[in-house]
């Protein structure tokens, strides 16, 4: 049996600060006919507060399932995970997801979508409006506040999706290939936007992607997944200084290294 990977990066953690997320021996099986199909096997890692981790792997390796488990949408079959030291079973605003597809409420305007999560909380109308304006400005969508989701582009929709969860001030941000459906140029814009927001708010981010370039551009650390069953193969720190230029030699060098690791 392979030794369990236990990688805890302390780079961004202050002394005495507990990790934002610990995942320990997590497994998931789906019933398939009369047998059980293992989708995730023995996943263990932990994320320091404010760390940006990319989960990289081919489709079908269970990355999305892992994200759904941490979000609380799907129960896990074995193992545990803690968010800031507490087990979390139900979905909640401390772990927000940006989905790959458009998951905005189609009958609400951009501003109303961003306000949606705030409305249930005990807050004044004025305070909510101020928060919404602030985040509209952060994602540069003030001019589109009264548009409906179907009237704006895919990139703008993902900006709204980002703003509507950032406004809730989540501890952990879970992103499931959020820019996968965008064109290359928009994707790069969104990556820059995400990095600048991350530098402002210092959320812990788990970012699922199958795009190696995207993982290198964004991540502090890359967790590489195998499939059938989904297993954590290795973890790689990304030592490149930010901002990372895709054209630079160090980037290419790291890219080739990562490709070799994935091929193994």
């Amino acid at each position: 049996m392979k030794p369990r990977l236990q990688i805890i990066s302390g780079r961004r953690t202050d002394d005495g600060c507990q990790p934002a997320l610990t995942v320990d021996g997590l497994g998931k099986v789906f019933p398939s006919g009369s047998t059980l199909l293992p989708v995730l096997q023995d996943i263990s890692f932990s994320a320091a507060a404010g760390e940006l981790i990319c989960l990289l792997g081919p489709s079908g390796c269970g990355k999305t399932t892992l994200l759904n488990i941490i979000a609380g949408f799907t129960p896990c079959s074995s193992g545990t995970f803690n968010v800031h030291g507490r087990p979390a079973t139900r979905p909640g605003p401390d772990r927000c997801v940006v989905f790959q597809e458009d998951a905005l409420f189609p009958w609400l305007t951009v501003a109303e979508n961003i306000a949606f999560g705030l409305t249930g909380r005990t807050r004044g109308r004025q305070a909510i409006r101020a928060e919404v304006e602030r985040f509209l400005a952060l994602v540069d969508l003030q001019a589109f506040r009264d548009y409906l989701p179907r009237e704006i582009s895919g990139g703008m929709k993902q900006r709204v999706a980002l703003a509507r969860v950032l406004v809730l001030n989540p501890r952990v941000l879970l992103m499931d290939e959020p820019f996968g459906a965008l064109d290359a140029q928009t994707r790069e814009e969104m990556q820059n936007l995400l990095l600048s927001l991350w530098q402002t708010f210092a959320h812990t981010i788990l970012f699922v992607t199958h795009d190696i370039t995207e993982a290198i551009t964004l991540a502090d650390r890359i967790l590489i997944f195998d499939r059938h069953p989904g297993r954590l193969r290795s973890a790689v720190d990304v030592p490149l200084a930010r901002p990372r230029k895709k054209e630079s030699d160090v980037f290419h060098h790291f890219y080739r290294r990562l490709c070799n690791m994935l091929r193994k």
């Binding site: 979000a71 609380g72 949408f73 139900r90 979905p91 909640g92 605003p93 772990r95 927000c96 997801v97 989905f99 597809e101 998951a103 905005l104 409420f105 189609p106 009958w107 609400l108 949606f116 999560g117 249930g120 909380r121 409906l148 179907r150 509507r164 969860v165 809730l168």
Partner: protein, 263 residues
């Protein structure tokens, strides 16, 4: 030439105007004798007497207001009942497999029974009068309202629920902030179909010897051979059906953001 704007405003009237012209042509040229198809002018005269006439001016003079009031009340009560039962039950069965399994056999069996079969039973149960009509209207309008609400609730994108859950939305708010707005397009379709059927069954219910109502007038006119009054009744029901559909849409748009913003 017409601009796009003008032709768009004309478009809804082309078929009614064409039908009217064809009617005038057929009647004036004598292709159809007046006892089969009365001339539009005589129908117009009959309508004028029916709507504006004083009670002593003839058999149907001045009855319009009373008939319309009686029929509208029956449609409103029957349709209201259908909506009140159909929407909540539909949404429940769309979301809860247990409710769906519980209801699908009886609903789909009863749905197959033609409405007219209920008429004799309804007469025995409720007697002649408003109750029978309201029962028939409610029964017939229930099915499209229920089935569409169920379909609407079932096909809501699960990501919307997950979004709600992660944003801390509770069960109750989830129903009113996600479920109902998400199912709104189908709910509206169901209500509009139901309202159309409500008018059909109104006439069926009023065939049975009630003294007032638009359906009663049509039946009565048939016995007396007043085909012009039959035509008047049909045109008035068509107009009421169209107006009530527009009213329903406008009302829903007024009350629900999600109804206003359907593409």
């Amino acid at each position: 030439m017409f601009s796009d704007h003008h032709s768009a405003r004309l478009l809804p009237w082309i078929i009614p105007a064409g039908a009217l012209l064809a009617w005038i042509f057929v009647s004036t040229s004598g292709l159809a004798p007046p006892y089969l198809l009365p001339h539009p002018v005589s129908v117009l005269k009959a309508a004028q007497v029916y709507i504006f006439g004083t009670a002593d001016a003839g058999p149907y003079a001045g009855r319009f207001l009373d008939d319309a009031r009686a029929s509208l009340l029956r449609v409103a009560l029957g349709f209201g009942l259908a909506a009140l039962l159909g929407i909540p039950l539909g949404i429940l069965s769309g979301r809860l497999p247990a409710v769906r399994k519980l209801l699908s056999t009886p609903v789909n069996a009863l749905r197959a029974v033609p409405g007219i079969c209920w008429l004799p039973l309804a007469l025995v149960w409720f007697g002649i009068g408003i109750n029978t009509t309201v029962f028939l209207v409610a029964l017939a309008a229930f099915f499209p309202v229920y089935l569409n609400a169920a379909a609407g609730a079932r096909q809501i994108n699960p990501l919307l629920y997950q979004s709600g859950a992660m944003m801390g939305v509770g069960r109750l708010r989830g129903v009113f902030a996600i479920l109902i707005p998400g199912a709104m397009p189908q709910i509206i379709t169901g209500l509009r179909l139901g309202l159309g059927i409500a008018w059909a069954y109104l006439v069926l219910g009023e065939l049975t010897g009630v003294p007032d109502g638009l359906g009663a007038v049509i039946m009565d006119a048939r016995m007396l051979g007043r085909i012009d009054i039959i035509a008047v009744g049909i045109i008035i029901i068509a107009a009421f059906g169209r107006l009530s559909d527009l009213g329903l849409k406008a009302g829903l748009r007024l009350c629900f953001k999600s109804a206003r913003r359907i593409p």
